[in-house]
């Protein structure tokens, strides 16, 4: 089988006993962006590497315009632009040095080199940062630089492996525009992603699960099939978890996910719509309405269909009595009593001449899920670091769990839990040892430490991997372990710094279910995220931009504020982008007026 375009024919690749790709056949002849979507372990990266000639298939073949990607790999190098998941920039070289190096390696003609590089710098907006070391770029800028490197020579095929991980929504939109602009007409772009809202923007989506193709079509084809199967249950906040648990047990429903004040449901094929009263018997106000399907619904439905009858592997173990319990039990569950968990008053942080945080004030109630959103470099992480006692503020005050941070940061640190952006547990230690360590680091007595560790192993579904090295765990397990470790000492406030970055959708929603359960028990949750569809899970959102607080609203209020005639129902991302653009306009206006 040969022909124009990229052709995968019975492609199979194993790693030891594990099958990464299982007889995959697909043909991509036309230009445009082809989304490669699937949970962790679906085989997305393996597929990319096979096409890039970095792996050899065990069976089947890949060809590009009739040339074999494995045996003629060297000949195809200049035809294929590949951006690995790790970005692959040399952090100790500057942007322009990275570009020049790759241009020379990929054989961009010497006469065209500087023109081509300038064009890339202009398109990516990196021209002012050309001499900055790649290691000093923000996440979004680094992704753009890596993209510019990959596309420095006009290719025949573009492979982008999770290019938008860790990139804020604004930069992500720019990245999309860039790829469309730079790839060129008729050039297929294979774009793997864990962001399901991104899948909706692709021209074509390949849905992968466990090395098999379980869906192939335009995004509309996927959502169209679910047109009448998507419902929304509106329910009182304190009843939503029990409603979710009931929905999860209902065979007529393939999905039930919390989103803000709502529970979004997906019906099984040909199943009748459930009764609001059945799902929330103790809330007379509960009501069910139809809603527009999202790509995520299609994704979950397709996964459920492909894996039937087995339950989705990474969904939380169903519990009989209500929602899963998170963290260690406490003598008396703290209530959402409206008390203050955290207060920030005119907080300022300066680094030399640069003001990273510029007089931010807000307060967070006990049991609230409070989201900080903003573009890369807006100051979110700096606020987080100050609140965790990692950075001393330049000015202003902060009280964490009733303790003034300035007076006793170590005491305040004992009351908080922190889950870093990257997996930052000890990869060489076993799961059990990691939990032991954090229990000890927070000074728990030995017997108490052991009890909480065993409970955490059970509650987070980690018992069967308790002896495995943490570094060898699949991402979903690692994330659960990180959360369990952050909760070992029963903190009053939990700080989550981009907790779902690089985590696949099923794991992500399971994670949010746990967070919601914890908030119900009175734990205050501070979270930053770039997945703005996740912002819906928060009670309130603070939009941070250039070190200042741009807005502090509930997600619904934020969306309502951004509604326009041509976009009556904006999502959080639309609202966010509108806010940022408005702020930029005002800043520009201010400058031109002055």
């Amino acid at each position: 089988m040969s022909g124009a375009g990229l052709v995968l024919d019975g492609l199979t690749r194993r790693f030891g006993a594990a099958v990464a790709l299982d007889g995959l056949s697909v043909r991509i002849a036309d230009g445009g962006i082809v989304g490669l979507v699937g949970p962790d372990g679906a085989g997305k990266s393996t597929l990319m590497r096979l096409v890039a000639g970095l792996l050899r298939p065990d069976a089947g073949r890949v060809t590009l315009d009739g040339r074999d990607c494995a045996t003629e790999a060297e000949a195809l190098r200049t035809a294929i632009a590949y951006m690995p998941q790790s970005r692959g920039l040399w952090t100790d070289l500057s942007v322009i040095e990275n570009l020049r190096l790759i241009a020379d390696l990929r054989g961009v003609p010497a006469g065209e080199r500087s023109a081509r590089i300038e064009r890339m710098l202009d398109s990516t907006g990196l021209a002012p940062f050309r001499d900055r070391l790649a290691g000093r770029l923000s996440g979004g800028m680094a992704q753009k630089a890596a993209l510019a490197c990959a596309l420095i020579r006009p290719p025949r095929l573009v492979l982008l492996d999770e290019p938008s991980v860790g990139v804020d929504p604004i930069s992500r939109r720019e990245l999309w525009a860039l790829v469309r602009e730079l790839a060129g007409d008729g050039v297929p772009v294979l774009w793997s992603t864990a962001y399901l809202d991104e899948a909706e923007r692709c021209d074509r989506v390949l849905l992968l699960d466990r090395g098999r193709l379980i869906g192939d079509g335009a995004p509309g084809d996927f959502t169209g099939a679910l047109e009448d199967r998507c419902l929304r249950l509106t329910v009182a906040r304190d009843r939503r978890l029990s409603a979710q648990a009931r929905a999860a047990r209902d065979p007529a429903l393939v999905d039930a996910v919390l989103r803000g004040g709502h529970l979004d449901l997906v019906l099984a094929e040909d199943a009748p719509a459930p009764d609001a009263a059945a799902l929330a018997p103790d809330d007379p106000q509960a009501r069910i309405e139809p809603r527009a399907p999202r790509f995520e619904d299609a994704f979950v439905a397709a996964l459920a269909a492909a894996r039937r009858p087995a339950a989705p592997a990474s969904s939380p173990a169903p519990s009989d009595d209500g929602p899963p319990r998170a963290g260690a039990p406490r003598p008396a569950a703290r209530e959402r009593d409206g008390g203050e968990a955290l207060a920030v008053d005119r907080l300022v942080k300066r680094f030399g001449d640069f003001t990273a945080v510029d007089g931010v004030s807000f307060s967070v109630g006990r049991g609230e899920i409070f989201g900080l959103i903003g573009p890369n470099g807006a100051g979110k992480s700096t606020i987080f670091k100050m609140l965790c006692g990692l950075l001393p503020p330049s000015d202003g005050a902060a009280r964490v769990a009733g303790i003034a941070l300035r007076d006793s940061p170590a005491a305040a640190r004992g009351r908080i839990g922190y889950m870093a952006q990257a997996f930052s547990l000890y990869g060489r230690l076993s799961v059990r040892r990691n939990l032991d360590f954090f229990a000890g680091a927070y000074g728990l007595p030995r017997a108490e430490a052991r009890r909480r560790r065993d409970r955490a192993l059970a509650e987070f579904g980690l018992a069967e991997v308790a002896g495995s090295r943490a570094g060898a765990l699949p991402p979903g397990y690692r994330q659960r372990l990180s959360l369990a470790a952050a909760l070992m000492h029963d903190p009053e406030i939990l700080f989550l710094d981009e907790p779902t970055s690089g985590v696949d959708p099923p794991t992500r929603r399971e994670f949010w279910l746990r967070i919601a359960a914890m908030a119900d028990r009175g734990v205050t949750v501070m979270v930053t995220t770039h997945f703005l569809d996740e912002a819906d899970y928060c009670d309130r959102l603070a939009v941070i931009y250039r070190g200042r607080l741009l807005a502090l609203e509930t997600p619904d209020a934020l969306k309502a504020g951004a509604a326009t005639a041509e976009r009556p129902e904006p999502d959080v991302e639309d609202a966010f982008v509108a806010l940022i653009e408005e702020s930029d306009r005002r800043a520009a206006g201010g400058r031109s007026a002055a």
């Binding site: 970095l54 050899r56 790790s86 692959g88 990929r106």
Partner: protein, 373 residues
Amino acid sequence: MSRAAARRLSALVGKESRQILRDPSSIAIAFVLPAILLFIFGYGVSLDAEGVPVAVVVEQPSPQADSLAAAFAGSPSFDPVYPLHRTPAQRLLRLGEVRAVVVVPASFEADLARGDAAVQVLLDGTDANTARIVSGYADGVLSGWLADLARERGARTAPVIEAESRIWFNPAVRSRNFLIPGLVAIVMTLTGALLTSLLVAREYDRGTIETLMATPAGVGEILAGKVVPTFLLGMASMGLSVAMAVWLFDVPLRGSFLVLAGASALFLTAALGLGLVISAATKDQFVAGQLAILVTFLPAFLLSGFIFNIDAMPPAIQAVSHLVAARYFIAIAQTVFLVGTEWSVILPNAAALAVMGVAFLGLARALLVKRLG
């Protein structure tokens, strides 16, 4: 080589050079540590014992006993103290304040007259080497004293054999003349093998290996890109070492500098090759670094004839030393520095280095494939 390949190679060389020059720890390893080592070996380390502290105990003063005791003071080899009794002298020996105790017994005068006097020497045996040297020195002092005694008395003595000794190549027997040429090998091992061992492993650690592999650059080009700058750095630190040796420490360079540079180039190639082999095989910086110390740096120190004499080692260890590139280079370096351009020594050793260089580079080339997993 095609023009495209030439451009790729020069781009890779530029990249590696910048990366090396930007990390202060590479510069420290290439220039600061060599300078420290040269200073220590140039000024500090000497194998020559002079003025060895000894305790001379004269149990019963007498003209002959005092004369012998004075002979120890008169020898430049010794720096004696004179405790009155054996016990305090032995205490000094135990505390390491003296290296030997010489006891001239109470009966010395009478024994000597009978022709059967024994002077007791107690050596601190902990440092076997120094003990042997001290024993030789003491022998020399006694023989000299006896010869003088015989002359005084006009007695017939043993036939005098005048052994006139001449030390070639290093008449003043300066340790640094012997150590510093060998040190050049150690210095080049630092950049050649230790620094190089991290270069490929780092690309794996940081994930940039995928970017490199996805370009048309061949494995040979990638390796050459890493070899060229470290080679130049290694030659530069060799130049620094030789300059310091000749101008600062007055080590004679009797042979041709060009020959020395040529041999250095061969040695450096072998060291680089081994560094790349380690790097490509381990793919992990920590392990690569430790392994490089184990299989390159320590052997260059121990099994190369740099300080320790290979001929005196057990046969098994001598056999292992044949696998150590530094051994061949040090033989050349010592010859070129102190003896001259002596081809009968240089050629076979250079041939061994060339074989090792080709073998290691070939092995590195074979270990690094443009594929993952």
